[in-house]
Each structure stands twice: as structure tokens, then as C-alpha cells.
Symmetry: C2
Subunit: 382 residues, 2 copies
């Protein structure tokens, strides 16, 4: 699995080590390199919530994700383009992956009307009507100037019947082809998205159709929507082995630390999830001993740091008692410190996974991680 693959877009993926199905590597782009397995913090509306971009970079993040749906509605893709593009706008000069907007149209907007052409919907902000097609999704991502762009796909609700998934998949594959056609020579890298629900043969059909079109990388979509970790891992095991080994694989919207560890074991290279940032705003902190709720009164007199092994400002300079106090008081610094800590934890986890792959000890690392992590997670704070 060693070698490089340079695309027209200046997008290159090099695998530097493998360990069973797990891989570690480097995605090289003009704006910077991303070490994989990689976790991409979510910068929904051109900000990773409660963080300055330099702090996001300081945690070790090489790339962030931004949401086409949110940015097309506010402040608008054409406006961002006129202001010099998304990187300049949000003060993040390193790589950005943009999604296509499809998932959020399905989950946030109202009055969705899906046709062969695309999807008409109303903004959740002001009710205004908008239209997203594969071509428009690519145009918006071009206007934003992102480094990795995602095809527009339909995201069926879970659960869905096999027939519903099959119909939806067929539409998503036609949209994938139109997205690739719309990308054009000037575009950035573009990833296809494997759909097919929990049905192995549909997942494999999706892989076949996408690889026939040809993309810079392949995402696995339609997971982490309620099917549970075991079903998700089953889908990965039925899907990932069919993906081209020399392209990065991105598991969208995942996930919890144990989801990430299990998915890396199954050959996934990239992740994104709102969990560390959203949890940080809700008083929850991730540690190697599991997730903690800082709102819990048992922290009120605890002068110890959140995690003595962590180098983030929350752990370096504050006690659990202080974090408890600012969470209870609803202070913005609680969101700032806990988000920073959670992003640092996720990046530390990815670093540990990359090292484990490099030392051919991924399975051992995973077993030890899960034992330690779930030990406390099963405790009183669950």
C-alpha cells in the first residue's frame, strides 16, 4: 500500500504504514498536509464553535470541515467568494473539507421537495426558499474554495426498507456522476459518498458505481444515524474492503472515541463529528477514562485537573472545581475550555492511533483503549 497518487487537483494520498486493515498516511494538498487517521473538527458556520482557529490548529487539527448548507444560507457562497474565499473569511489558511449540504437539507430544513433535478427546501433560519442540485452544490463549494468537496447525495432516514434504500441509492449515484461532471478541471479534490444503508450488496453496488466514475477519495455515508455501533461496523466490514486501497476513506459524522477506534481498525482514514465541540458546550469532557459531566456536583471541590496527561489550557491551568463552577454558571469560558480540551483529546487519540498503526499494534492499542475508556463510561456518569 505504499505509493503516491497525484491528481489534477494537486491532491495526493500516501500510505506510510498499514496494520491489518488499518492504515496511516498523509493527504497532501496545496494548503497543507493531513496526517491520517485524521479527525476533522466541524466549523459549521465558518467557525469551530467557541474556538479561535489558531487554537484549533494548536490541538493538532490539520483540516476542518465546513457546512455548505449553513454557509449557502448565511452569509452566502457568492458573498464569501467576493470576500476572498472561505479560508480568508474564517482565518483558517489550512485545508478545509466542505460537505455538499445534502445531509443538513434532510435534517434541518423544512418543506423538502426532492426530484431528479435536486432538492428544493426552506431555510431553517428565515423560511426562504432555496434549491440545491449536484451542480449547485459543486458551484457553492467552488465559490467557498474548499480543498476537498463532497458530492451531493440523498440521505435516507433510518430505518428504511431495502427498496427505499435502493431507490435512494440509485438517485445518489446519478447525482454523484453529475457532481463529478460539474467539478471541472479547476476544482479541488472531490470525494464520492458510498450509500446503501445496512445492506451489504447495495453498499457494494455503490462502491462499484462510484469507483467507475472515479473520485479522489471515498466517504462512507448514511451511518451514525441510529443503527448502532455494531451495525455500523458490519457495514464498514462489508464496504471498506471493496474500496480502492490507494484512496483516503472518510466515515462521515463519526463519532464517539470508541467508534473512531473501531473504524480505524476497519480501514477508515478520516472522520468528522460535532461531538467534541457540542459536548464541550454542554459541560461534557472526554478523557482516557471515559466521558465526564463537569456539571456533576462531585467535581465542586476537586482541585485536580481534568486530565493530568493533557496539555490543553483547561487541564494545564484549571481545576475540575473551576470547570464545574463555570459550567454551572453558564460562563462562555466553560464552552471555550471544554471545547479546547475535547478537540485536544480527539487529536491526541488520532495521534495515538497513527502511532499504533506505525508500530503494528493497532489491535492491542484498541483493546487497551476500550478497556480503560469504557471502565469509567460504565460508571455512575455513564
Amino acid at each position: 500500500m505504499h505509493g503516491a497518487n497525484l491528481q489534477m487537483s494537486g491532491f495526493e494520498f500516501e500510505i506510510v504504514a498499514t496494520d491489518g486493515a488499518a492504515r496511516s498516511g498523509i493527504v497532501r494538498m496545496e494548503r497543507g498536509s493531513v496526517l491520517t487517521p485524521a479527525f476533522m473538527p466541524v466549523g459549521t458556520a465558518a467557525t469551530v464553535k467557541a474556538m479561535l482557529p489558531e487554537s484549533v490548529a494548536e490541538t493538532g487539527a490539520d483540516i476542518v470541515l465546513a457546512n455548505t448548507y449553513h454557509l449557502m444560507l448565511r452569509p452566502g457562497a457568492e458573498r464569501i467568494a467576493k470576500l476572498g474565499g472561505l479560508h480568508k473569511f474564517m482565518n483558517w489558511p489550512w485545508p478545509i473539507l466542505t460537505d455538499s449540504g445534502g445531509y443538513q437539507v434532510m435534517s434541518l430544513s423544512s418543506l423538502r421537495d426532492i426530484s431528479e433535478e435536486g432538492v428544493r427546501f426552506r431555510s431553517h433560519i428565515d423560511g426562504s426558499e432555496h434549491f440545491l442540485s449536484p451542480e449547485r452544490a459543486m458551484e457553492i463549494q467552488q465559490l467557498l474554495g474548499s480543498d476537498i468537496r463532497m458530492v451531493l447525495d440523498e440521505c435516507p432516514a433510518y430505518p428504511a426498507t431495502e427498496a427505499e434504500i435502493e431507490t435512494s441509492l440509485a438517485l445518489s449515484m446519478r447525482w454523484a456522476k453529475r457532481s463529478k461532471d460539474a467539478l471541472g478541471a479547476a476544482g479541488g479534490a472531490c470525494f464520492g459518498i458510498v450509500q446503501g444503508g445496512v445492506f451489504p450488496h447495495l453498499r457494494q453496488r455503490s462502491v462499484h458505481e462510484l469507483t467507475t466514475i472515479g473520485f479522489d477519495g471515498y466517504a462512507v455515508g448514511g451511518l451514525a444515524v441510529g443503527e448502532g455501533q455494531s451495525a455500523m461496523f458490519d457495514v464498514l466490514e462489508a464496504t471498506v474492503p471493496h474500496l480502492p486501497p490507494d484512496r483516503p476513506r472518510y466515515l462521515m459524522g463519526v463519532g464517539k472515541p470508541d467508534d473512531i477506534v473501531g473504524a480505524v481498525l476497519r480501514g477508515i482514514d478520516m472522520f468528522d463529528c460535532v461531538l467534541p465541540t457540542r459536548s464541550g458546550r454542554n459541560g461534557q469532557a472526554f478523557t482516557w477514562e471515559g466521558a465526564l459531566n463537569l456539571r456533576n456536583a462531585r467535581h465542586a471541590d476537586d482541585g485536580a485537573p481534568l486530565d493530568p496527561s493533557c496539555a490543553c489550557p483547561a487541564c494545564r491551568s484549571y481545576s475540575r472545581a473551576y470547570l464545574h463552577h463555570v459550567v454551572k454558571a453558564g460562563e462562555i469560558i466553560a464552552a471555550m475550555l471544554l471545547t479546547w480540551h475535547n478537540l485536544a483529546f480527539f487529536q491526541d487519540l488520532m495521534r495515538a492511533l497513527r502511532e499504533a498503526v506505525g508500530h503494528n499494534m493497532t489491535a492491542d492499542f484498541a483493546a487497551q483503549f476500550l478497556k480503560r475508556y469504557r471502565g469509567e463510561e460504565a460508571g455512575p456518569e455513564g
Copy 2:
């Protein structure tokens, strides 16, 4: 006016320059020195809202204010003492001034019952009953371990009759004596608070009584409560000349940039106000051309920085268009960036005032500042 005055508390005030009534100097304390005229950011509940302490220091702040009322209710003064004191708790190793709780008891709590002994009140957080006396206010500040402590005073509502102010003042002066007696040898520096409403002879009586007791510094209280700038300046002119010239003078809860400039001209050395932090959370930014509301649609496409002369992150790395976007979207980064900018602006203003005093050009500086500042303030955004 040159010379030093070392107290038992290790508190020293040196005046390094005077210009008419205006002075610039240095307050020296064990934890650090404060250049005056000084603006103290407000760290109500052991956090300057939306800022990390190192960022507060980076703006140039030498000292912050923390609120006894808030901290006694949550997380509790005894708890903070057990955790090593307020400086360690909130990760601010430099000087802290604490108020006495009096003002907030009057403005925030319910069911206040004021007697000679002190004030009984209910917490605005959970309705629990509490009692604050001059002795307890000093004890709480001792537990917090602040560097400058304020006497408990009664803060009468505005407007009030002369008779009401006179009665209230008499109580405040008896409380000031009890506060000083309660301070003890181990205490930090302690400031008295001049009351007396808008009545010059009552202000002067208050000064006389406080200087007879003897304090490390003197605050002017009971202003910025609705009397207007002109009445406030009148009170300063009737009060400040009677204060001992070798002690720092602190105008509590003030204020707007033009209030600060006018008060420095009248001999005030120290200020605190929630204005820069609160405004920052509400989308308002202070500039040399006046206050701007970033929510205003005219900023939506403006690629220029908020203030090209400012070195804060908001001005260095973002456009007005971005700030407008994150304010409109309610993103936490809006509060973070605008608070940082506003605190940087206030510290830049204090630096300019200190320099103006040092160069004997305070009146010229003030006139030029007000012309420029009010030029835009009178514009469409008021």
C-alpha cells in the same frame, strides 16, 4: 505629587506625572504593578466573560475586578479559599480587586432587608437567604485573597432626596469604620468609598470621614447610576480635590470611553466597567471613531478590518463582514473576538491617557479624542 506611600499591606502608590488635575502613576502590590490611569476588566464570577485570562493580560490589563456578591453565592468564598484562593482558581496570578458585594445586593438580589448590622437578602440564583455585614464582606474578600478590598457601603437608588442620601451616607460611613476595623493586619489593601449622591457638601463630609479612618485608596461610588455625565463630572469636581493626593482614586462602575477621559482630566486613577465585555457579547465594538454595531447590515460585505490601528486578533485576522456574520449567527466566536477587541481598545485608551499625562497634553488629547470619537457616535448608529 511625587513620592511613594508604602502601607502594611505592601501596597504602594507612586505618582510619576501630573498634568493639571490628571495624574499618571504606579500602584505596586505583591502580585504586580498597575499603571494608572488604569481600566480594570470585570471578572464577575471568576472569569472575564468570553476571555481566557492570558488574553486579558495580553490586552494590557494589569488588574481585574471580581464580584464578592457573585462569588459568595457561587461557588462560595470558603470553597475558593480551600481550593487555594481566587488567583489560583481563576488562573489570574496578577492583582485582583474585589468589590464588597453591596452594589450587587442592591441591584440583583431580592427581599433586601437593610439594618445597622448589615443586609439580609435572597440570592438571584436560587432564592437562598444570605447575610452580608461589613465584617462578613471583609472576611469574604480575605477568603478570596484579593489584593485590593472594598468596604461595604449602601448604594442608594437614583434619584434620592438629600435627606435619604444623608441617612444612607451616615450608615455607609459607620460601615466603612467597621470594615477597616475588620480588615486586620493580615489583610490586603483596602479602599474606602465616597458616597453622598449629587450633593457636594455630603460628598465632602464623606471624604472627611473616610480620610479620618484612613484607607489605602479612595473610591467614588454612587455614580453612573443615571445622573448623567455632566452631573457625574460635577460630583468629581466637588469631591476629588478634597481627596488625599497621594492615594489612588477609583471611580466605580465607569464607564464609557468619554466618561473615562473626562474623569482622568478630573484626577481619577482607576476605573472598572462591564461595558467593553457586555458590549462585546452584544455585537458592539468600540473604535476611535465611536461605537459600532456589527449587527448592522452595512458591514455584511465589508472586507476591511474593524480598526486597522488595533493589534487585537479581531482586527488583525478578520473582516467586518466576518464579524457581522458571526454576530448575526450568534456564534460564540463573536463574543470572544469583540470582547477581546473592546478590552484592547480600553487598554489602548488608558495607555494613550497615561502618555498624554506624561507629556502634559491631557487636555489636548481629550479634546481630539472626543471630537473623533463623538463624530461617528453621533452618526447613524448612534
